[in-house]
Amino acid sequence: MSVDVGIENVSHAYTTGQQSLPVLDKLNLTIPAGQFTAVVGPSGCGKSTLTRLASGLMAPDSGAVTLNEERVTSPRSTVGMAFQNPVLLEWRTIIENVVLPMEIVKHDLTRNQCLKRAAKLLELVGLADFKHKRPSELSGGMRQRASLCRALVHKPDLLILDEPFGALDAFTREDLWQIMRELRGRESFTGLLITHDLRESVFLADQVVVLSGRPATCQYVLDVTLPEDRRIDSLYTPEAVEMLATLREQIEIAQGRKQEVAA
Protein backbone atom coordinates (compact mmCIF):
# COMPACT_ATOMS: atom_id res chain seq x y z
CA MET A 1 0.00 0.00 0.00
CA SER A 2 1.38 3.39 -0.90
CA VAL A 3 0.73 6.72 0.82
CA ASP A 4 0.38 10.38 -0.04
CA VAL A 5 3.42 12.22 1.25
CA GLY A 6 3.20 15.87 2.23
CA ILE A 7 6.02 18.21 3.18
CA GLU A 8 4.22 21.35 4.30
CA ASN A 9 6.08 24.58 4.95
CA VAL A 10 8.96 22.72 6.54
CA SER A 11 11.84 24.75 7.97
CA HIS A 12 14.78 23.26 9.78
CA ALA A 13 18.09 24.46 11.18
CA TYR A 14 21.00 22.66 12.83
CA THR A 15 22.38 24.22 15.97
CA THR A 16 26.01 23.60 16.87
CA GLY A 17 27.18 25.59 19.87
CA GLN A 18 25.84 29.10 19.47
CA GLN A 19 25.63 28.91 15.70
CA SER A 20 22.46 28.05 13.88
CA LEU A 21 22.63 26.78 10.30
CA PRO A 22 19.29 27.11 8.49
CA VAL A 23 19.04 24.16 6.09
CA LEU A 24 15.45 24.02 4.88
CA ASP A 25 13.30 27.13 4.46
CA LYS A 26 9.53 26.77 4.15
CA LEU A 27 9.83 23.77 1.87
CA ASN A 28 6.67 22.46 0.20
CA LEU A 29 6.46 19.21 -1.67
CA THR A 30 3.78 16.59 -2.23
CA ILE A 31 4.12 13.11 -3.59
CA PRO A 32 0.82 11.45 -4.61
CA ALA A 33 0.43 7.84 -3.50
CA GLY A 34 2.33 5.42 -5.71
CA GLN A 35 4.32 8.13 -7.41
CA PHE A 36 8.07 8.43 -7.47
CA THR A 37 9.62 11.82 -6.81
CA ALA A 38 13.30 12.59 -7.31
CA VAL A 39 14.93 15.47 -5.47
CA VAL A 40 18.05 17.08 -6.90
CA GLY A 41 19.94 20.10 -5.64
CA PRO A 42 23.40 21.49 -4.91
CA SER A 43 25.61 19.50 -2.57
CA GLY A 44 25.00 20.37 1.09
CA CYS A 45 21.67 22.06 0.43
CA GLY A 46 19.70 19.84 2.79
CA LYS A 47 18.62 16.79 0.77
CA SER A 48 19.67 14.22 3.38
CA THR A 49 18.05 16.40 6.01
CA LEU A 50 14.82 16.10 4.03
CA THR A 51 15.04 12.28 4.12
CA ARG A 52 15.61 12.31 7.87
CA LEU A 53 12.54 14.50 8.33
CA ALA A 54 10.39 12.45 5.96
CA SER A 55 11.30 9.21 7.78
CA GLY A 56 10.54 10.72 11.17
CA LEU A 57 14.12 10.29 12.40
CA MET A 58 14.05 14.03 13.13
CA ALA A 59 11.22 16.46 13.70
CA PRO A 60 11.24 19.75 11.75
CA ASP A 61 11.60 23.04 13.61
CA SER A 62 8.38 24.21 11.98
CA GLY A 63 5.94 22.94 9.39
CA ALA A 64 4.74 19.36 9.08
CA VAL A 65 5.53 16.08 7.39
CA THR A 66 2.39 14.05 6.67
CA LEU A 67 1.67 10.56 5.41
CA ASN A 68 -1.91 10.22 4.19
CA GLU A 69 -2.73 13.51 5.95
CA GLU A 70 -1.42 12.10 9.23
CA ARG A 71 1.40 14.00 10.89
CA VAL A 72 4.69 12.15 11.26
CA THR A 73 6.33 12.76 14.61
CA SER A 74 8.49 9.68 15.08
CA PRO A 75 9.93 6.84 12.98
CA ARG A 76 7.38 4.36 11.69
CA SER A 77 7.73 0.80 10.50
CA THR A 78 6.00 1.56 7.19
CA VAL A 79 9.07 3.31 5.83
CA GLY A 80 11.99 1.69 4.00
CA MET A 81 15.34 3.38 3.64
CA ALA A 82 18.54 2.86 1.66
CA PHE A 83 21.65 5.02 1.56
CA GLN A 84 24.73 5.43 -0.58
CA ASN A 85 26.51 3.18 1.90
CA PRO A 86 24.66 -0.16 1.74
CA VAL A 87 25.33 -0.75 5.47
CA LEU A 88 25.06 -4.53 5.36
CA LEU A 89 25.95 -6.38 8.55
CA GLU A 90 29.05 -8.46 7.99
CA TRP A 91 28.10 -11.10 10.58
CA ARG A 92 24.94 -11.95 8.70
CA THR A 93 24.55 -13.63 5.33
CA ILE A 94 22.85 -11.67 2.54
CA ILE A 95 19.43 -13.19 3.15
CA GLU A 96 19.77 -12.67 6.90
CA ASN A 97 20.57 -9.04 6.18
CA VAL A 98 17.50 -8.71 4.01
CA VAL A 99 15.13 -10.11 6.66
CA LEU A 100 16.53 -7.80 9.35
CA PRO A 101 13.56 -5.35 9.23
CA MET A 102 11.19 -8.29 9.83
CA GLU A 103 12.88 -8.74 13.21
CA ILE A 104 11.96 -5.16 14.12
CA VAL A 105 8.51 -4.44 12.69
CA LYS A 106 5.34 -6.11 13.92
CA HIS A 107 3.81 -8.62 11.51
CA ASP A 108 2.21 -12.03 11.62
CA LEU A 109 4.45 -13.97 9.27
CA THR A 110 6.52 -16.91 10.41
CA ARG A 111 10.30 -16.79 10.10
CA ASN A 112 10.02 -19.12 7.13
CA GLN A 113 7.55 -16.88 5.34
CA CYS A 114 9.85 -13.91 5.96
CA LEU A 115 12.79 -15.81 4.47
CA LYS A 116 10.64 -16.76 1.46
CA ARG A 117 9.74 -13.14 0.88
CA ALA A 118 13.39 -12.11 1.18
CA ALA A 119 14.43 -14.87 -1.23
CA LYS A 120 11.82 -13.70 -3.73
CA LEU A 121 13.13 -10.14 -3.64
CA LEU A 122 16.73 -11.34 -3.98
CA GLU A 123 15.70 -13.37 -6.99
CA LEU A 124 14.04 -10.30 -8.52
CA VAL A 125 17.27 -8.33 -8.30
CA GLY A 126 19.38 -11.23 -9.58
CA LEU A 127 20.99 -12.30 -6.32
CA ALA A 128 19.34 -15.72 -6.01
CA ASP A 129 22.71 -17.48 -6.00
CA PHE A 130 24.22 -15.17 -3.39
CA LYS A 131 21.66 -15.61 -0.59
CA HIS A 132 24.06 -17.37 1.73
CA LYS A 133 27.18 -15.33 0.96
CA ARG A 134 28.66 -12.73 3.29
CA PRO A 135 28.41 -9.07 2.22
CA SER A 136 32.19 -8.86 1.77
CA GLU A 137 31.99 -11.54 -0.92
CA LEU A 138 29.76 -9.33 -3.11
CA SER A 139 30.57 -6.44 -5.45
CA GLY A 140 29.43 -2.91 -4.66
CA GLY A 141 26.49 -3.10 -7.06
CA MET A 142 25.38 -6.44 -5.63
CA ARG A 143 25.54 -5.07 -2.09
CA GLN A 144 23.42 -2.11 -3.10
CA ARG A 145 20.85 -4.50 -4.62
CA ALA A 146 20.72 -6.42 -1.34
CA SER A 147 20.29 -3.13 0.48
CA LEU A 148 17.28 -2.31 -1.75
CA CYS A 149 15.74 -5.70 -0.93
CA ARG A 150 16.19 -4.99 2.77
CA ALA A 151 14.47 -1.61 2.35
CA LEU A 152 11.49 -3.35 0.70
CA VAL A 153 11.17 -6.62 2.60
CA HIS A 154 8.57 -5.34 5.08
CA LYS A 155 6.41 -3.89 2.27
CA PRO A 156 6.87 -0.24 3.20
CA ASP A 157 4.36 2.39 2.08
CA LEU A 158 7.18 4.84 1.50
CA LEU A 159 10.62 4.06 0.11
CA ILE A 160 13.28 6.68 0.82
CA LEU A 161 16.51 6.44 -1.15
CA ASP A 162 19.39 8.80 -0.38
CA GLU A 163 21.83 8.73 -3.32
CA PRO A 164 21.71 4.92 -3.33
CA PHE A 165 23.65 4.52 -6.58
CA GLY A 166 26.08 7.39 -6.02
CA ALA A 167 29.14 5.22 -5.38
CA LEU A 168 28.66 2.86 -8.32
CA ASP A 169 30.21 2.95 -11.78
CA ALA A 170 28.07 4.15 -14.69
CA PHE A 171 27.14 0.74 -16.14
CA THR A 172 26.30 -0.82 -12.77
CA ARG A 173 24.21 2.24 -12.05
CA GLU A 174 22.16 1.82 -15.23
CA ASP A 175 21.60 -1.85 -14.34
CA LEU A 176 20.29 -0.80 -10.99
CA TRP A 177 17.98 1.83 -12.49
CA GLN A 178 16.32 -0.90 -14.49
CA ILE A 179 16.08 -3.15 -11.46
CA MET A 180 14.54 -0.26 -9.55
CA ARG A 181 11.87 0.23 -12.24
CA GLU A 182 11.20 -3.49 -12.16
CA LEU A 183 10.73 -3.42 -8.38
CA ARG A 184 8.40 -0.47 -8.75
CA GLY A 185 6.24 -2.44 -11.11
CA ARG A 186 5.88 -5.33 -8.70
CA GLU A 187 5.72 -3.71 -5.29
CA SER A 188 3.50 -0.81 -4.37
CA PHE A 189 5.09 2.12 -2.60
CA THR A 190 5.53 5.85 -2.85
CA GLY A 191 9.12 6.79 -3.65
CA LEU A 192 11.37 9.62 -2.57
CA LEU A 193 14.75 9.51 -4.29
CA ILE A 194 17.62 11.86 -3.54
CA THR A 195 20.18 11.95 -6.32
CA HIS A 196 22.79 14.14 -7.94
CA ASP A 197 22.46 12.36 -11.27
CA LEU A 198 19.93 14.15 -13.50
CA ARG A 199 19.59 11.21 -15.91
CA GLU A 200 18.81 8.98 -12.95
CA SER A 201 16.13 11.39 -11.72
CA VAL A 202 14.44 11.50 -15.13
CA PHE A 203 14.68 7.76 -15.68
CA LEU A 204 13.26 6.74 -12.31
CA ALA A 205 10.84 9.48 -11.30
CA ASP A 206 7.43 10.81 -12.24
CA GLN A 207 8.34 14.19 -10.86
CA VAL A 208 11.72 15.88 -10.33
CA VAL A 209 12.07 18.58 -7.69
CA VAL A 210 15.00 20.97 -7.84
CA LEU A 211 15.98 22.46 -4.50
CA SER A 212 17.64 25.87 -4.27
CA GLY A 213 20.95 26.35 -2.48
CA ARG A 214 20.97 26.32 1.32
CA PRO A 215 18.63 27.13 2.99
CA ALA A 216 16.70 25.03 0.49
CA THR A 217 13.30 25.82 -0.88
CA CYS A 218 11.49 24.16 -3.72
CA GLN A 219 12.86 25.98 -6.77
CA TYR A 220 11.44 24.04 -9.69
CA VAL A 221 9.22 21.01 -10.31
CA LEU A 222 9.44 19.03 -13.51
CA ASP A 223 6.84 16.49 -14.56
CA VAL A 224 8.51 13.63 -16.33
CA THR A 225 6.57 12.81 -19.47
CA LEU A 226 8.40 9.67 -20.53
CA PRO A 227 6.34 6.50 -21.08
CA GLU A 228 5.89 4.03 -18.19
CA ASP A 229 7.97 1.27 -19.75
CA ARG A 230 11.20 3.20 -19.92
CA ARG A 231 14.47 1.81 -21.16
CA ILE A 232 17.87 3.43 -21.05
CA ASP A 233 17.28 4.43 -24.71
CA SER A 234 14.37 6.59 -23.55
CA LEU A 235 16.93 8.98 -22.12
CA TYR A 236 18.13 9.83 -25.63
CA THR A 237 14.78 10.86 -27.06
CA PRO A 238 14.37 14.58 -27.86
CA GLU A 239 11.86 15.15 -25.05
CA ALA A 240 14.19 13.50 -22.49
CA VAL A 241 17.11 15.58 -23.69
CA GLU A 242 15.01 18.70 -23.34
CA MET A 243 13.99 17.79 -19.79
CA LEU A 244 17.63 17.14 -18.89
CA ALA A 245 18.60 20.53 -20.32
CA THR A 246 15.91 22.26 -18.26
CA LEU A 247 17.08 20.49 -15.10
CA ARG A 248 20.71 21.35 -15.81
CA GLU A 249 19.80 24.99 -16.15
CA GLN A 250 17.82 24.92 -12.90
CA ILE A 251 20.74 23.31 -11.06
CA GLU A 252 23.05 26.06 -12.26
CA ILE A 253 20.59 28.64 -10.97
CA ALA A 254 20.41 26.77 -7.65
CA GLN A 255 24.19 26.79 -7.45
CA GLY A 256 24.11 30.54 -8.00
CA ARG A 257 26.14 30.31 -11.18
CA LYS A 258 23.36 31.60 -13.34
CA GLN A 259 20.71 34.26 -12.80
CA GLU A 260 17.10 33.33 -13.32
CA VAL A 261 15.76 35.07 -16.42
CA ALA A 262 12.47 36.79 -15.72
CA ALA A 263 9.97 35.20 -18.04
Binding site: S74, P75, R76, S77, F83, N85, L89, W91, L100, I104
Partner: protein, 256 residues
Protein backbone atom coordinates in the same frame (compact mmCIF):
# COMPACT_ATOMS: atom_id res chain seq x y z
CA UNK B 1 53.27 -33.43 3.68
CA UNK B 2 49.90 -31.78 4.18
CA UNK B 3 49.56 -28.17 5.33
CA UNK B 4 47.91 -29.41 8.49
CA UNK B 5 50.79 -31.73 9.39
CA UNK B 6 53.23 -28.91 8.73
CA UNK B 7 51.22 -26.65 11.02
CA UNK B 8 51.49 -29.18 13.85
CA UNK B 9 55.02 -30.45 13.26
CA UNK B 10 56.90 -27.21 12.72
CA UNK B 11 56.19 -25.69 16.17
CA UNK B 12 57.09 -29.04 17.81
CA UNK B 13 60.40 -29.13 15.97
CA UNK B 14 61.06 -25.53 17.02
CA UNK B 15 60.40 -26.37 20.68
CA UNK B 16 62.59 -29.49 20.58
CA UNK B 17 65.45 -27.54 18.98
CA UNK B 18 65.09 -24.84 21.62
CA UNK B 19 65.26 -27.41 24.46
CA UNK B 20 68.30 -29.10 22.90
CA UNK B 21 70.06 -25.76 22.61
CA UNK B 22 69.26 -24.96 26.26
CA UNK B 23 70.53 -28.39 27.41
CA UNK B 24 73.69 -27.95 25.37
CA UNK B 25 74.29 -24.44 26.75
CA UNK B 26 74.14 -25.64 30.37
CA UNK B 27 76.29 -28.71 29.60
CA UNK B 28 78.86 -26.75 27.61
CA UNK B 29 79.31 -24.07 30.27
CA UNK B 30 79.17 -26.69 32.98
CA UNK B 31 76.75 -24.54 34.97
CA UNK B 32 75.75 -26.07 38.30
CA UNK B 33 72.09 -26.47 39.23
CA UNK B 34 72.00 -23.41 41.49
CA UNK B 35 73.09 -21.19 38.61
CA UNK B 36 71.00 -22.47 35.73
CA UNK B 37 68.82 -25.55 35.46
CA UNK B 38 68.79 -27.61 32.28
CA UNK B 39 65.67 -29.09 30.67
CA UNK B 40 66.59 -32.58 31.88
CA UNK B 41 66.43 -31.30 35.49
CA UNK B 42 62.91 -29.95 35.05
CA UNK B 43 60.98 -33.18 34.82
CA UNK B 44 62.33 -34.61 38.13
CA UNK B 45 61.52 -31.28 39.83
CA UNK B 46 58.07 -31.31 38.35
CA UNK B 47 57.44 -34.94 39.26
CA UNK B 48 58.63 -34.48 42.82
CA UNK B 49 56.06 -31.69 43.39
CA UNK B 50 53.39 -32.99 41.00
CA UNK B 51 50.55 -32.74 43.53
CA UNK B 52 51.46 -29.16 44.40
CA UNK B 53 51.75 -28.32 40.70
CA UNK B 54 48.27 -29.64 39.98
CA UNK B 55 46.73 -27.88 42.98
CA UNK B 56 48.51 -24.57 42.49
CA UNK B 57 48.02 -24.49 38.75
CA UNK B 58 44.30 -24.78 39.43
CA UNK B 59 44.51 -21.88 41.90
CA UNK B 60 46.35 -19.68 39.44
CA UNK B 61 43.97 -20.60 36.65
CA UNK B 62 40.69 -19.98 38.42
CA UNK B 63 41.91 -16.73 39.99
CA UNK B 64 42.96 -15.45 36.57
CA UNK B 65 39.71 -16.49 34.95
CA UNK B 66 37.55 -14.97 37.70
CA UNK B 67 39.56 -11.72 37.60
CA UNK B 68 39.24 -11.66 33.83
CA UNK B 69 35.50 -12.35 33.99
CA UNK B 70 35.06 -9.44 36.40
CA UNK B 71 37.15 -7.26 34.07
CA UNK B 72 34.87 -8.21 31.19
CA UNK B 73 31.72 -7.33 33.13
CA UNK B 74 33.02 -4.03 34.51
CA UNK B 75 35.01 -3.15 31.37
CA UNK B 76 32.02 -3.72 29.08
CA UNK B 77 29.79 -1.70 31.43
CA UNK B 78 32.25 1.23 31.39
CA UNK B 79 32.72 0.81 27.64
CA UNK B 80 28.97 0.90 26.97
CA UNK B 81 28.44 3.99 29.14
CA UNK B 82 31.39 5.81 27.54
CA UNK B 83 30.52 4.60 24.06
CA UNK B 84 27.02 6.00 24.13
CA UNK B 85 27.45 9.19 26.14
CA UNK B 86 29.97 11.79 25.08
CA UNK B 87 29.64 13.49 28.46
CA UNK B 88 30.47 10.28 30.31
CA UNK B 89 33.40 9.65 27.98
CA UNK B 90 34.83 13.11 28.68
CA UNK B 91 34.24 12.66 32.40
CA UNK B 92 35.58 9.12 32.86
CA UNK B 93 38.41 8.84 30.36
CA UNK B 94 41.09 10.80 32.29
CA UNK B 95 40.20 8.84 35.42
CA UNK B 96 40.61 5.52 33.65
CA UNK B 97 43.85 6.56 31.98
CA UNK B 98 45.28 7.73 35.31
CA UNK B 99 44.15 4.53 36.99
CA UNK B 100 45.78 2.49 34.26
CA UNK B 101 48.99 4.53 34.33
CA UNK B 102 49.87 3.47 37.90
CA UNK B 103 52.30 0.55 37.52
CA UNK B 104 50.48 -2.44 38.92
CA UNK B 105 53.67 -3.82 40.48
CA UNK B 106 53.41 -0.94 42.97
CA UNK B 107 49.74 -1.62 43.66
CA UNK B 108 50.38 -5.28 44.44
CA UNK B 109 52.12 -4.76 47.83
CA UNK B 110 49.58 -2.09 48.76
CA UNK B 111 46.64 -4.40 48.13
CA UNK B 112 48.47 -7.27 49.86
CA UNK B 113 48.82 -5.08 52.95
CA UNK B 114 45.26 -3.75 52.97
CA UNK B 115 43.64 -7.17 52.78
CA UNK B 116 46.23 -9.23 54.64
CA UNK B 117 45.73 -12.97 54.27
CA UNK B 118 42.81 -12.67 51.81
CA UNK B 119 44.80 -14.51 49.16
CA UNK B 120 42.02 -15.36 46.76
CA UNK B 121 40.41 -11.95 47.01
CA UNK B 122 43.70 -10.06 46.57
CA UNK B 123 44.79 -12.09 43.59
CA UNK B 124 41.47 -11.82 41.79
CA UNK B 125 41.40 -8.09 42.53
CA UNK B 126 44.80 -7.47 40.94
CA UNK B 127 43.98 -9.67 37.93
CA UNK B 128 40.82 -7.62 37.50
CA UNK B 129 42.46 -4.20 37.96
CA UNK B 130 45.25 -4.90 35.52
CA UNK B 131 43.01 -6.22 32.75
CA UNK B 132 39.81 -4.20 32.63
CA UNK B 133 41.24 -1.08 30.97
CA UNK B 134 41.81 -2.44 27.43
CA UNK B 135 38.32 -3.95 27.46
CA UNK B 136 36.65 -0.69 28.49
CA UNK B 137 38.59 1.30 25.89
CA UNK B 138 37.97 -1.11 23.01
CA UNK B 139 34.24 -1.38 23.69
CA UNK B 140 33.82 2.38 24.05
CA UNK B 141 35.73 3.06 20.84
CA UNK B 142 33.82 0.35 18.99
CA UNK B 143 30.47 1.79 20.05
CA UNK B 144 31.29 5.47 19.58
CA UNK B 145 32.61 4.95 16.05
CA UNK B 146 29.43 3.24 14.86
CA UNK B 147 28.43 4.96 11.60
CA UNK B 148 25.09 6.79 11.96
CA UNK B 149 23.61 4.92 8.97
CA UNK B 150 23.93 1.61 10.83
CA UNK B 151 21.86 3.08 13.61
CA UNK B 152 19.40 4.70 11.21
CA UNK B 153 18.44 1.58 9.24
CA UNK B 154 16.89 0.19 12.43
CA UNK B 155 15.84 3.46 14.08
CA UNK B 156 13.89 4.44 10.94
CA UNK B 157 11.72 1.37 11.58
CA UNK B 158 10.98 2.48 15.12
CA UNK B 159 13.53 0.21 16.84
CA UNK B 160 14.46 1.13 20.41
CA UNK B 161 17.99 2.07 21.44
CA UNK B 162 18.30 -1.29 23.17
CA UNK B 163 17.37 -3.14 19.97
CA UNK B 164 19.95 -1.16 18.01
CA UNK B 165 22.50 -2.09 20.68
CA UNK B 166 21.76 -5.84 20.57
CA UNK B 167 21.28 -6.18 16.83
CA UNK B 168 24.02 -3.89 15.57
CA UNK B 169 26.28 -2.03 17.99
CA UNK B 170 27.25 -5.05 20.11
CA UNK B 171 27.98 -7.56 17.32
CA UNK B 172 29.84 -4.89 15.37
CA UNK B 173 32.12 -4.31 18.38
CA UNK B 174 32.89 -8.00 18.97
CA UNK B 175 36.10 -8.17 16.86
CA UNK B 176 37.58 -5.23 18.78
CA UNK B 177 36.37 -6.73 22.04
CA UNK B 178 38.14 -10.03 21.38
CA UNK B 179 41.32 -8.24 20.31
CA UNK B 180 41.27 -6.52 23.69
CA UNK B 181 40.38 -9.75 25.49
CA UNK B 182 43.55 -11.40 24.19
CA UNK B 183 45.61 -8.59 25.66
CA UNK B 184 43.53 -8.58 28.84
CA UNK B 185 43.90 -12.33 29.42
CA UNK B 186 47.69 -12.02 29.25
CA UNK B 187 47.59 -9.05 31.61
CA UNK B 188 45.29 -10.80 34.10
CA UNK B 189 47.69 -13.74 34.15
CA UNK B 190 50.59 -11.41 34.94
CA UNK B 191 48.51 -9.78 37.70
CA UNK B 192 47.69 -13.12 39.29
CA UNK B 193 51.32 -14.18 39.35
CA UNK B 194 52.59 -10.87 40.68
CA UNK B 195 50.27 -11.16 43.65
CA UNK B 196 51.01 -14.84 44.27
CA UNK B 197 54.76 -14.18 44.30
CA UNK B 198 54.49 -11.24 46.67
CA UNK B 199 52.07 -12.70 49.21
CA UNK B 200 53.61 -14.77 52.00
CA UNK B 201 51.94 -18.08 52.91
CA UNK B 202 49.88 -17.95 49.73
CA UNK B 203 49.01 -20.51 47.10
CA UNK B 204 49.24 -20.72 43.34
CA UNK B 205 52.12 -21.25 40.90
CA UNK B 206 53.52 -17.83 41.80
CA UNK B 207 53.85 -19.01 45.38
CA UNK B 208 55.55 -22.22 44.28
CA UNK B 209 57.98 -20.11 42.29
CA UNK B 210 58.68 -18.04 45.38
CA UNK B 211 59.37 -21.09 47.54
CA UNK B 212 61.71 -22.35 44.82
CA UNK B 213 63.53 -19.03 45.09
CA UNK B 214 63.73 -19.14 48.89
CA UNK B 215 65.16 -22.68 48.82
CA UNK B 216 67.43 -21.87 45.84
CA UNK B 217 65.75 -24.75 44.02
CA UNK B 218 66.48 -23.65 40.47
CA UNK B 219 65.01 -26.68 38.72
CA UNK B 220 61.74 -26.05 40.59
CA UNK B 221 61.68 -22.38 39.58
CA UNK B 222 62.24 -23.26 35.95
CA UNK B 223 59.63 -26.00 36.11
CA UNK B 224 57.16 -23.39 37.38
CA UNK B 225 58.08 -21.09 34.51
CA UNK B 226 57.35 -23.86 32.03
CA UNK B 227 54.05 -24.64 33.77
CA UNK B 228 53.13 -20.94 33.62
CA UNK B 229 53.95 -20.82 29.93
CA UNK B 230 51.69 -23.83 29.28
CA UNK B 231 48.89 -22.25 31.31
CA UNK B 232 49.32 -18.94 29.49
CA UNK B 233 49.11 -20.67 26.13
CA UNK B 234 45.94 -22.52 27.20
CA UNK B 235 44.34 -19.27 28.30
CA UNK B 236 45.26 -17.47 25.10
CA UNK B 237 43.91 -20.17 22.85
CA UNK B 238 40.73 -20.41 24.89
CA UNK B 239 40.14 -16.76 23.96
CA UNK B 240 41.04 -17.48 20.34
CA UNK B 241 38.47 -20.29 20.23
CA UNK B 242 35.78 -18.02 21.73
CA UNK B 243 36.68 -15.40 19.16
CA UNK B 244 36.31 -17.91 16.35
CA UNK B 245 32.87 -18.88 17.62
CA UNK B 246 31.49 -15.39 18.24
CA UNK B 247 33.41 -13.16 15.83
CA UNK B 248 34.66 -15.63 13.22
CA UNK B 249 32.91 -13.58 10.53
CA UNK B 250 35.43 -10.77 10.99
CA UNK B 251 38.30 -13.00 9.88
CA UNK B 252 39.37 -12.05 6.36
CA UNK B 253 41.19 -15.30 5.64
CA UNK B 254 42.46 -18.14 7.81
CA UNK B 255 45.84 -17.14 9.18
CA UNK B 256 46.67 -20.35 11.03
Amino acid sequence: MSERMKGILSPIIAIVLFLLFWEWLVWYNDWPNYKMASPSDLWPAFWKFRDLFAMYAWDTLWRTVVGLALAVVVGVAFGVVMGFSKTMRTALYPLLVGFNAVPKATVVPVVALIFVGQHDFNTVLIAFMISFFPIAVSVSIGLSTLEPEYRDILRALGASKLTVFWKIALPKTLPEFFGALKVASTLAFIGTNLMEIVEPHGRGLGHLFDSGKINADYPLMFAVLIALAVLGILLYYAVVILEKIFAGWAEREPTY
